[in-house]
């Protein structure tokens, strides 16, 4: 269920008619797929009414539509834009919190009506458009973790006298334009960016391993500017498939190969560390897996006094210098 918000009935009338939304209250209209809320004018009014509804029901997305004034004088009355960022201005002063969208134009939601050029002028460096609600709706959506989009139809030039009257006169026409935009937005096919890897039944991945697989492949594609397919060619996926091992073991091997491909340096470090630890068989040596701390922890188990003496003797022989050399990056990499 999507929630559509507009400030006034005049803007919403065509949408209510087109989607046959039934009236639930003076502010709320609904059918099986859409809920439409009239928020009233002003950012805090919008925030309060949207918050109240989001607290009662789950919505997949909130779409804010409405008319707005142009701060950028190049924008034409009748044009409609998706919003990119939303600022709040109170008494002409910008407030800290800002919201981001995926659109093209920047919007200032003003606490007061912008009725004079003196009020509009200082805001021009920050926004192309000014409205009275979007910031409040965006705030509420952010608080409730609901995706938000906003589309604004230019109805007048901000700061011009008589803007309100002009809007009232053409309410029907503006409402039809908002409806057309909503239909376009609802008709958009959602394209998912996620690329899935179909490696076949020869591999078995748990959910978290699959997530890690995607991450590793993505990092290699980023670094080498190649496709995921190229990554799999590089590590010879075909040869892995030929191996006579279980799908789980094959997946593990694939992950190891990818890790090494992404970070060959890490492989060299592990090699050097294993070689150093190998000198002290019988002692469990634990080092920081992040390679940041130089602390080393030793542990061992003994069955009798002789074993204890032997282990202590081995412990006394431990030379930490090779480990510190590894930490210093003194490993044979190339």
């Amino acid at each position: 269920m999507k929630l559509i918000t507009l400030a006034h009935y005049g803007e919403a009338q065509s949408i209510i008619d087109r989607f046959s939304l039934s009236k639930k209250s003076s502010e709320l209209y609904q059918n099986d797929e859409l809920t439409l809320l009239l928020t009233g004018e002003g950012p805090f009014e919008a925030c309060a009414s949207v918050s109240s509804l989001l607290g009662q029901k789950n919505f997949s997305e909130v779409i804010n539509l409405g008319i707005a004034g142009a701060l950028d004088q190049k924008l034409l009355v009748g044009e409609i834009f998706e919003i990119r960022s939303i600022y709040l201005a109170v008494e002409g002063k910008l407030q800290y919190k800002t919201f981001k969208g995926a659109g093209q134009k920047d919007l200032i939601t003003s606490f007061e009506r912008i009725l004079g050029e003196d009020k509009a002028h200082p805001l021009r460096g920050f926004g192309d458009i000014v409205d009275r609600e979007a910031w409040g709706v965006a705030f509420s959506c952010k608080e409730h973790g609901v995706p938000f989009r906003s589309f604004k139809l230019i109805s007048d030039v901000a700061g011009t006298i008589g803007a309100c009257e002009a809007v009232k006169e053409s309410a029907q026409e503006l409402s039809l334009k908002l409806l057309a935009k909503l239909e376009e937005v609802l008709g958009e096919v959602n394209e998912t960016r996620e690329e899935s890897f179909h490696l076949g039944d020869e591999f078995y991945f748990t959910f978290s391993l699959k997530h890690r697989l995607h991450h590793l492949v993505e990092m290699i594609t980023l670094r080498d500017e190649i496709t995921a397919l190229d990554v799999f060619k590089k590590i010879d996926l075909g040869a892995l498939k030929e191996l006579n091992i279980t799908p789980k073991a094959r997946a593990k091997l694939l992950m190891e190969k990818l890790e090494l491909e992404l970070d060959p340096f890490k492989g060299k470090l592990q090699e050097a560390l294993s070689e150093w630890k190998g000198n002290y068989q019988g002692l469990d040596i634990h080092t920081d897996p992040q390679w940041e701390s130089q602390s080393v922890k030793f542990s061992f188990t003994v069955q009798n006094k002789n074993e204890l003496e032997a282990k202590l003797e081995l412990l006394a022989k431990v030379d930490l210098e090779p480990f510190y050399q590894i930490l210093q990056g003194k490993v044979d990499v190339e």
Binding site: R84, Y96, K97, P122, L222, F265, W291, I326
Partner: protein, 330 residues
Amino acid sequence: MWNKIYLEKKLKNHPRAEAIISKLKLEVIEIDDYRDFWGKSKKPYLLKRDTLNLFISEKKGQTVKLAPDAYGKAGEPHYYFVHAYNCIYECQYCYLQGYFNTPDIVLFINHEEILWEMKKVLDSHPETSVWFHAGEFSDSLALTHLTGELELYHKFCEENPRAIIELRTKSVNVKALKTLKPLDNFIVSFSLSPEKVARRIDEKTPSIKARVKVMEELSSLGFSIAAHFDPIIYQDQFRELYKDLLQSMSNINPKLLYLSLGVVRFTKDVYREVERNYPDSLIHATTMIKSFDNKIRYSRPLRNWILSSVFDEAVEHGVRKERIYLCMED
């Protein structure tokens, strides 16, 4: 790129403000104080691409500040002076994206006050040279064709031989600089990366080839030049890439006053911004961890290996060993 100019009313007839305005030919909005607008709201960093505002202002409060430890060559006091906030370039690792609330640029034009404070600082260290770095919060040459302040700082160095000014830049905007007399204590330092890396992460900056060419030009004119390989970003064939870079600098390597080396690092907040602004950046291709000082870095062995590899290559290519220092490293 530029959107509007916000001008503090009291600077309306200031010749420096007039010069900037006449060159940019943008709509000017007069305001009382830049702080009423600049950074008041959180402006998304990438909006700098098409709606970058320019504020012309006077710097209030402290204009010269003590630099953090390991900021420059050890042994002498280092300060930085603030004559601008933010930058026209868009380097994907830049800490400015998480430092201010806005990418909008502020140019402070009360240079006389900044210089007066620099003199005070210099006098407080009567026994030693004092370093003053420009470019902590902006590129120090990129906008000098608009701002025209270089001459003042150059004069300060001429009159105060104990003062050393370092102009840090990625720009090749050296026309104004070349009209000045080279001074030992007026240093131009260039930030460089291998071309292949710079093309991917130093957005909107001049090419490395162009930067190296300008370094050669300035050096042949007698200017003191230096270089920063900072941040160094790990990438496949990384050592080869630095070899090529140093090879391209072979004419200037022996003349470099210093070369600083620093491996890429972020505070947590800046790293979050980098992830948000540049999710497909090369920066994310190598695993980073929270390090000893809570900064996000490569693993300790990797960064040590990177530093020693580049150090060795630099020496191999003619940079004097004692002139290489590690910047902001543990």
